[in-house]
């Protein structure tokens, strides 16, 4: 299984770079993961979304979709795209160390 090193810790990741064990994640890994997604600085607004993603994952076992984030995170969808231009739910989930939000079918 592929591994990556963030904040001097080795973590296991899947083919798309999502941590396979959210328990391995620590907050000091986030800035480094963010840079691999092209986000240089994590602002307090980024952190609001990242912490929200983790809380939702812990409560429900899956990260929220963009639409649910827009309704519940306190950040509008427009701003979510400014914060995480390459797809907010996916990118924020990866930075937050949780699995890619399940695509509904």
């Amino acid at each position: 299984m592929p591994t990556a090193t963030y904040a001097d810790q080795s973590v296991t990741v899947n083919d798309e770079g999502f941590l396979t064990d959210p328990g391995q994640w620590t907050e000091d890994m986030a800035p480094q993961i963010a840079r691999t997604a092209g986000i240089e600085d994590l602002t307090p607004r980024h952190w609001q979304v990242i912490r929200f993603m983790r809380a939702e994952y812990q409560a429900k076992g899956t990260g929220p979709t963009v639409r649910v984030l827009g309704k519940t995170s306190g950040v509008t969808i427009k701003e979510l795209y400014q914060l995480f231009p390459k797809g907010p739910a996916k990118t924020a989930a990866r930075i937050a160390g949780i699995p890619k939000p399940r695509g509904c079918i």
Partner: protein, 453 residues
């Protein structure tokens, strides 16, 4: 334990129930669509009248065969053929109450109707489906709505689109799913396939640019099926635009002064644009409006969180849900409501008898995918197994994940099955609620696949 309401607090649709003793349970079913109707009929069959009163509440009297809406824009079905009276689909002994729901008070076990009356219940079944929310997308219901922007997911939209397609003589037709979840997630793809067929039959296919625009990262979410459906789009010359989250639908306009027509555009949140002359949009979906007015009942989109196996709502043990109204991780489709019916009825019964719930829904979903030229695909899957090739319901059945005439005939025949077998809640020999594993061809497990999990 649950406590039966004292009968004098009930405002019953039938005065006779005031005389009933507490041994008579009341089951209230909200919604008289696919799930509500089949649940009511199955429950009516398993309970004697002196054991349970079964009340179905719906705000209107028309039962629409929703799979038929796909064919309306192409003139292959008209509304008179796909609508029947709701009440006529209910067995005798089921009470039909035509009223809107204001809210459900889950603490008091009572449904408040919009005519000011209230209905107490021993068990509640929420089957109010999904609601279209076009107004939640910027510009969607603006000046272009029902002019060059349509949806076939509602009867009026499907009829208006039929007229618009008739007038369409060429240009850019886009089919756009705004976001998931939606009812029948394969229907937008079927629309593309049928549009290709329709324009070929009219002899103008070379003048029509067809584009499918989806928020997903492929034509469909499940890998084997995605490959098959993406291939079909390519074969039919339909362009695929993925990971497109529509923020705004800008309708076409006429330039002042020059009178030049300017086409419309879909604009994504990350500022990509897809131009169109005619847009067929599947709006955002949410649960019924009363769910938002009922504290604790629904999630942020208005769907009912339930145990995906037992279909018991998380809010309270005497509340159940089925069909599109739930949050279970499978397709919002009539076949799901059908397969859930069995489990739901068994569990409502066990709950009312004070027994532990046993029945477990496995996420079984089964869809015909119309591909044009008198052919269709069939897919069959559940929570754990993606759609695979093979035959359904067994080795001698219909071919799966392969276009065939037989599947097309199956899809057409399904409407009769729907009215006469599915809604009445009859069991069909050979068709079980749980997904059949026989007849499915499983892909070989790649070497080392376990290591990558």
């Amino acid at each position: 334990m649950f406590v039966t309401q004292s009968r004098d607090q009930w405002l019953s649709p039938r005065p006779a129930t005031d005389q009933q003793n507490d041994l008579v349970k009341r089951i209230v079913i909200l919604g008289g669509g696919t799930g509500g109707t089949l649940a009511a009929n199955r429950l009516r069959r398993v309970y004697d009248p002196e054991e349970a009163e079964i009340v179905v509440v719906d705000r209107d009297a028309d039962h629409v065969y929703q799979p038929g809406l796909l064919f309306v824009p192409f003139g292959r079905a008209d509304m008179t053929h796909i609508v029947r009276p709701r009440q006529r689909q209910l067995r005798s002994g089921v009470v039909f109450r035509q009223a809107g729901v204001d809210h459900v008070d889950v603490t008091a076990d009572r449904v408040h109707l919009d005519d000011g009356t209230a209905l107490g219940y021993d068990a509640l079944v929420v089957a109010t489906g999904a609601r279209l929310l076009p107004e939640e997308t910027d510009g969607l219901t603006g000046p272009g709505w029902m002019r060059d922007v349509f949806t076939f997911y509602a009867p009026d939209g499907a009829v208006a689109l039929h007229q618009a397609l008739g007038r369409f003589s060429g240009g850019r037709l886009v089919v756009n799913v705004i976001d998931m979840p939606i009812k029948c997630p394969v229907a937008p793809l079927e629309f593309c396939f049928l549009a290709d067929y329709y324009f070929r039959q009219r002899g103008i296919r070379d003048r029509v640019q067809l584009t499918y625009v989806t928020p997903l990262d492929g034509a469909f979410t499940k890998p084997v099926c995605n490959q098959e459906l993406s291939g079909l789009l390519t074969d039919k010359g339909i362009e695929l635009v993925t990971e497109f989250n529509t923020g705004t639908v800008a309708a076409g306009t006429i330039k002042a002064g020059t009178g030049e027509a300017v086409g419309g555009r879909l604009i994504s949140y990350d500022e990509r644009e897809v131009p169109f002359d005619l847009a067929v949009v599947i709006p955002l979906h949410g649960g019924a409006a009363f769910v938002e007015r009922s504290p604790g009942l629904g999630d942020e989109l208005g769907f009912i969180p339930v145990d995906p196996g037992t279909l018991q709502a998380k809010v309270k043990p005497n509340v159940f849900a089925l069909g599109d109204a739930t949050d279970v991780p499978t397709s919002k489709a009539g076949s799901v409501a059908h397969f859930e019916g069995d489990v739901l009825v068994a569990n409502v019964r066990r709950f009312l008898a004070g027994q532990p719930l046993t029945g477990a829904f496995d996420g079984h979903t089964n869809c015909f995918i119309e591909t044009g030229f008198g052919k269709a695909l069939l897919i069959d899957f559940n929570y754990d197994t993606e759609p695979l090739a093979g035959h359904y319901p067994g080795r001698l059945g219909l071919p799966m994940l392969r276009q065939s005439r037989l599947n097309h005939l199956g899809k057409l025949a399904f409407q009769q099955f729907y009215w006469h077998s599915l809604l009445p809640g009859r069991d069909v020999p050979g068709i079980s609620s749980s997904m059949p594993a026989r007849g499915k061809i499983r892909p070989p497990v790649p070497a080392g696949a376990d290591d990558r999990r």
